[in-house]
Amino acid sequence: MAMTREGKTYIVSAIVEHKPGVLYSVSNMFRRRGFNIETITVGASEQKDLARLTVTIKGDERMVEQVVKQLQKLIDVVKVSILDPESTVTRELALVKISTLDTKVRSDVINYTEIFKGHVVDVAHDSLVVEITGDSDKINAFIELMKPFGLKEVARTGITALSRGMRSARME
């Protein structure tokens, strides 16, 4: 894609109409303008018929300004804000499958999972699935730790975010 993946990471939070085609028009706009999506998550919000879309992108201030304006221009996008990392809670969830052929590995993995405040959500005779939640750094760190054990599969949700305190990206 056109843009380089350099620069700061920005979290863009948008309230959008919760109906078919909206994700298409949003992602199509990103593709069309050459903005690189790092992660994108979308799900119901607290408001009826509205969904919250969280996009992280890397770039400079000028690019992010364009992203926000181009998003706002889409008819089905109701509100857009850039979340300040200082005052934002961000979370990502990952499911990590590790092959645990011997019991030593198995107990090590379970120990690490506890340290990372994760959960073992599936146990088979030769593998475990761990659920881990946190900011992206924490998840990266956990995955790095699992590599020597025999990391089999990783599924990550991408970042979702809310501003702290009473600040809000609600639709007024």
């Binding site: 298409y24 304006k69 109701v78």
Partner: protein, 558 residues
């Protein structure tokens, strides 16, 4: 509430939007709608190609300021509209395109003549809709017209699966719309107006750039009043041509790649630049990195996304042009002591004089013919153009005096636009002469709608500046590719006089400027469309020209 079919609800909704005419072509997926049209008083003009239906609705919209409407069947009918929709999108023209589609149960099954036209047109419409049931048609039509015509105007598409057209339901025509995510910001922010006023008061060499937004927001008077107060000369973009009378002493003509020498020399000398309703396209700015580098820039546009996209202004004003210009004017008129600008005005007059001396206009050359043409046209005559040299010659040499009288495909540069657009313009303004300045290559692309113009008695004049080549391509090959002419020769095909006659139109070939003037006079009186074939040299270049990527004042003149 009234029981009726979706098709009937559609036509009733269009009537409630005061639609006078629909340009279209029927087909399987819109049969129920055409059945309603059979005994409706809604005027439908049968075109000969859906691209022309879209361009005609666009020309109608640009000439009248109202929303144009076009219609096509599913699949190929819908995809044939695409060029016209993209064209309207690039030039911010308000049209509503209606397409039929396969019945709801067949959508997504690749049924016969099914195209995902909503998917296809997502990036080239302001928004689009697929109808889910007959009940919602009225509200969606209202919404479509509202979105198309407000803020920065543009095309909206409504796709109607066939069975939503036949479905009978209780239909309610409330005029409401529901759009949480669309609130065009039209009032200027007072703080930004303050900043703009401050800059303009201090300016020594102010310049205005007027784009199509000035015409859209009907801000010509406000713009002229402000420019006269400031004694600021005005350059227009191609889309802004007509926003001010080009015989006004402050008019510099068009800016950009094929701009006038005066505009391209004066604009870079500005210390304060007031850009209104323009998106700083590459064709207007030349090398954008250095464009007006030393000027303080005030940018007024209703589309926030255009402000800061290509040029970062010192004072961004996201607002309707008319309101913003008026706000600036009202502030200035109180405090501003008219400045002595004798030096600045002298500089501009000098530049204009220099330009006049360099222009040599005689013989069977487009500059000469267009100057002669202007002399015999009423001020409110509407000119459309095709694309290529014909377009740039028209922009440079055919002075325009009124908004909405110069209609050209700016952003997309669509060959074949001018002729169907002229038909739409003539339908909108039947009492003024409408002329399409064409190239031979462009006219061939949509010439079949001569049939529409003859059978519907929509008389326009097509002036084919016939150089027997794809002239603009030839010019670039001549200038930048060592005269290696590749695929530009059109020969003397077709014989445009015979072509016109074959459609029942009038065809005239002219051999001298005098014959040309005579033919145009005859054409404007004719009750049938006239094609005037004007053979010209294939070697002529359009000058002045700024090579692509160069700074705007690096002008080549021959």
């Amino acid at each position: 509430m009234v029981k009726m079919t979706g098709a009937k609800a559609l036509i009733e909704s269009l009537k409630r939007q005061k639609v006078e005419v629909v340009f279209g072509i029927p087909g399987g997926a819109v049969l129920p709608i055409y059945d309603v049209l059979y005994d409706s008083d809604m005027k439908h003009i049968l075109m000969r190609h859906e691209q022309c239906a879209a361009h005609a609705s666009d020309g109608y919209a640009r000439a009248s300021g109202k929303v144009g409407v076009c219609m096509a069947t599913s699949g190929p009918g819908a995809t044939n509209l695409v060029t016209g929709i993209a064209n309207a999108y690039m030039d911010s023209s308000p049209i509503v395109a209606l397409t039929g589609n396969v019945p709801r149960a067949f959508i997504g099954k690749d049924a016969f003549q099914e195209t995902d036209i909503v998917g296809v047109t997502t990036p080239i419409t302001k928004c689009n809709f697929q109808i889910k049931n007959a009940k919602e048609i009225s509200k969606i039509v209202n919404t479509a017209f509202y979105v198309a015509s407000t803020g920065r105007p543009g095309p909206v598409l409504i796709d109607l699966p066939k069975d939503t057209q036949t479905e009978v339901d209780d239909i309610e025509f409330d005029d409401g719309i529901s759009l949480r995510g669309y609130k065009p910001n039209i009032e200027p922010h007072p703080l930004q107006i303050d900043k703009a006023v401050k800059l303009l008061v201090q300016a020594e060499k102010p310049v205005v750039i007027a784009g199509g937004g000035v015409i859209t927001s009907r801000a010509s008077q406000e713009l002229l009043a402000l420019a006269e107060l400031l004694i600021a000369p005005i350059a227009t973009t191609l889309m802004g041509k007509g926003s001010i009378p080009e015989n006004h002493p402050l008019s510099l003509g068009m800016l950009g790649m094929h701009g006038t020498i005066t505009a391209n020399k004066i604009v870079p000398e500005a210390d304060v630049l007031l850009a209104v309703g323009t998106r700083f396209s590459d064709r207007s700015t030349g090398k954008v990195e250095t464009f007006c580098r030393d000027a303080k820039i005030i940018h007024i546009d209703i589309d926030a996304a255009e402000v800061g996209k290509n040029i970062r202004p010192h004072v961004p004003i996201v607002a309707d042009a008319k309101l913003a210009l008026k706000a600036i004017y009202d502030r200035l008129i109180k405090s501003f002591n008219k400045k002595e600008r004798s030096l600045w005005m002298k500089r501009i007059q000098e530049q204009k004089k220099q330009q006049a001396e360099m222009e040599n206009k005689d013989g069977m050359t487009p500059p000469h013919l267009l100057v002669e043409l202007r002399k015999i046209l009423p001020q409110d005559a509407i000119i459309t153009t095709e694309v290529g040299q014909n377009q740039m010659w028209s922009a440079l040499y055919l002075k325009t005096y009124k908004p909405r009288t110069f209609i050209s495909s700016g952003g997309l540069g669509t060959m074949g636009f001018g002729f169907p657009a002229s038909l739409g313009a003539k339908v909108a303004c039947p009492d003024v002469p409408v002329l399409d300045i064409a190239g031979d290559g462009s006219f061939i692309m949509t010439e079949q709608d001569l049939a529409t113009s003859v059978s519907w008695k929509i008389p326009v004049t097509v002036i084919v500046l016939n150089n027997s080549v794809l002239g603009m391509v030839a010019q670039w090959q001549r200038m930048f590719y060592n005269r290696r002419y590749s695929a530009i020769d059109l020969g003397k095909i077709p014989d445009f006089v015979k072509l016109a006659e074959a459609y029942g139109a009038q065809g005239i070939r002219v051999g001298s400027p005098e014959e040309f003037v005579k033919a145009v006079k005859m054409a404007m009186k004719s009750e049938v469309t006239t094609v005037i074939d004007v053979p010209i040299s294939s070697e002529q270049n359009v000058f002045p020209m700024v090579p692509p990527g160069a700074e705007i004042d690096k002008i080549m003149i021959g």
